[in-house]
């Protein structure tokens, strides 16, 4: 894989998506740089989840092009593409009939890794995301919400993908658990430097986790700003967001230090 740090890892080129007469996305152009966490911020229906799903081709654009590592998505083998990209969703989507370790080891297994290597990788990942080893043989329904989400993250990281797509991964958690997982996410990013696209409607989360924030509204990209710029932005949508969150949000000065 070409490790060219200058060229974007993910590139949206004038992408539009229309389904059943509804314009979900129009004229989206955006680049995601290697190792950054790009947050897609917007309200429900703004097209942020659709944008995310364009990357691993769960959604195919009506027009325009998406490039991953410089290769157009329309020309790659979709299964290979998806196995190179970690995917974490809000509902986690753990396989209820698989134990924690089978859930985490699924992609390595279908990729044909040797059993020994899979076992070692599962142990490594469980430690990485802070799961006690004795949870390996539990089923998802026997875990707490926070534990399930950790398994979801471990599963997405299993085959060591360069790119991680996260769709409101912490949205359904209680505030304390969410805070904990956000902190761990930052710590993890310091070590792993994955290229992350992170969807949220929570400005506070966006400010805390994002290298850059892409604000979306009604299927259009409004603006892309660094967290500090976002708070000072005169853009009407951005300042509306800041106002809506009141005087609460702390600037993300603590990024990477926690």
């Amino acid at each position: 894989m070409p490790a060219d740090t200058a060229s974007p890892v993910i590139e949206f080129m004038d992408v539009s998506y229309r389904v059943d007469g509804t314009q979900v996305l129009s004229g989206l152009s955006l680049q995601v740089a290697r190792g950054e966490t790009l947050v897609l911020l917007g309200r429900s229906g703004s097209g942020k989840t659709t944008t995310l799903k364009l990357v691993n081709r769960l959604v195919t654009p009506t027009s325009g092009e998406i490039r991953v590592e410089g290769v157009s998505n329309a020309q790659t083998d979709v299964i290979r593409l998806r196995r190179r990209i970690g995917y974490v969703i809000q509902d986690v989507g753990l396989f209820p009939h698989f134990t924690v370790e089978r859930n985490i080891g699924l992609v390595p297994k279908i990729e044909g890794w040797a059993d020994e290597r899979i076992r070692a990788r599962i142990q490594e990942l469980m430690q990485l995301v802070g799961l006690a080893p004795e949870l390996a043989l539990r089923y998802p329904r026997q875990l707490s919400g926070g534990q399930r989400q950790r398994v979801g993250v471990a599963r997405a990281l299993a085959a060591d993908p360069e790119i991680l797509l996260m769709d409101e991964p912490f949205g359904a958690l209680d505030p304390l658990t969410r805070d904990e997982l956000q902190r761990e996410f930052l710590a993890l990013q310091v070590r792993l430097h994955k290229t992350v696209v992170f969807v949220t409607h929570d400005l506070r989360e966006a400010l805390r986790l994002g290298t850059r924030i892409a604000l979306m509204e009604a299927g259009k990209l409004v603006t892309v700003l660094a967290p500090q710029e976002f708070l000072k932005s005169s853009d009407p949508w951005a300042s509306a967001y800041v106002r809506a969150f009141g005087n609460g949000p702390e600037p993300s000065g603590n990024r990477g230090t926690s």
């Binding site: 998806r82 989507g93 209820p96």
Partner: protein, 210 residues
């Protein structure tokens, strides 16, 4: 007590007819599973086919069984041997619950789970065999359970066209106006239905517990 004596006196025939009955039911359920499960999967994946397939299976279900046996009798290869014919008819009747439950089971799998699987790069067949089918197995099996119980009952009518089975006693008893002979067919048939129901139910629970 007449019944017990009758069964004891004719025990070889009772056992033979019970085995014949089991054979008719077992084979037709096997065919119905082989046809019905793939059809159920197909209509779960292609919603456009859902209505025509389920409607056809429904229509078959509404044909009175005696009439269906009668209709099939003159069909060339089938009509030659009444057991072939009985198996075909029983298979047709068993299809609806199996197709419907396979469809319901697969559609009922949590959408988030399916999407996570697809997003992780499972191929459609990996998704089907590792995720969708295992997760809908207990629903599919409860369809099979209904089909088995219906078939055990329906198979008694197969004796009308000479396919054998426990219905032999029932038809003979009706002709002879002899309750004892009727019961000699009806009671083992009821026990068979009960046992089959328990058996598939047990299998269902075993698989769900996993």
């Amino acid at each position: 007590m007449n019944l017990v004596r009758f069964i004891l006196q004719n025990h070889t025939e009772v056992v033979d007819q019970t085995l014949e009955h089991l054979w008719l039911v077992g084979l037709s359920i096997a065919f119905a599973v082989l046809i019905g499960v793939p059809l159920g999967i197909l209509i779960a994946q292609r919603p456009k086919l859902n209505k025509p397939v389920l409607a056809s299976a429904n229509i078959i279900q509404t044909i009175p069984s005696l009439a269906l046996f009668g209709f099939l009798l003159p069909v060339p290869w089938l009509g030659e041997r009444s057991d072939r014919l009985a198996i075909l008819a029983l298979t047709l009747y068993a299809l609806l619950p199996i197709i419907r439950n396979t469809y319901t089971g697969i559609r009922g799998v949590d959408a988030a789970v399916v999407e996570a699987g697809r997003g992780m790069g499972l191929t459609e067949s990996q998704l089907l065999f590792q995720v969708e089918l295992p997760l809908s197995l207990s629903v599919i099996l409860s369809g099979v359970r209904v089909a088995v119980v219906i078939s055990v009952g329906l198979a008694t009518i197969a004796a009308f066209i000479g396919a054998g089975g426990l219905g032999e006693f029932i038809f003979r008893g009706v002709a002879m106006v002899d309750d004892t002979v009727i019961l000699a067919g009806a009671i083992p048939a009821a026990i068979l239905a009960l046992l089959a129901d328990l058996g598939v139910g047990w299998l269902e629970r075993r698989l769900r517990a996993q």
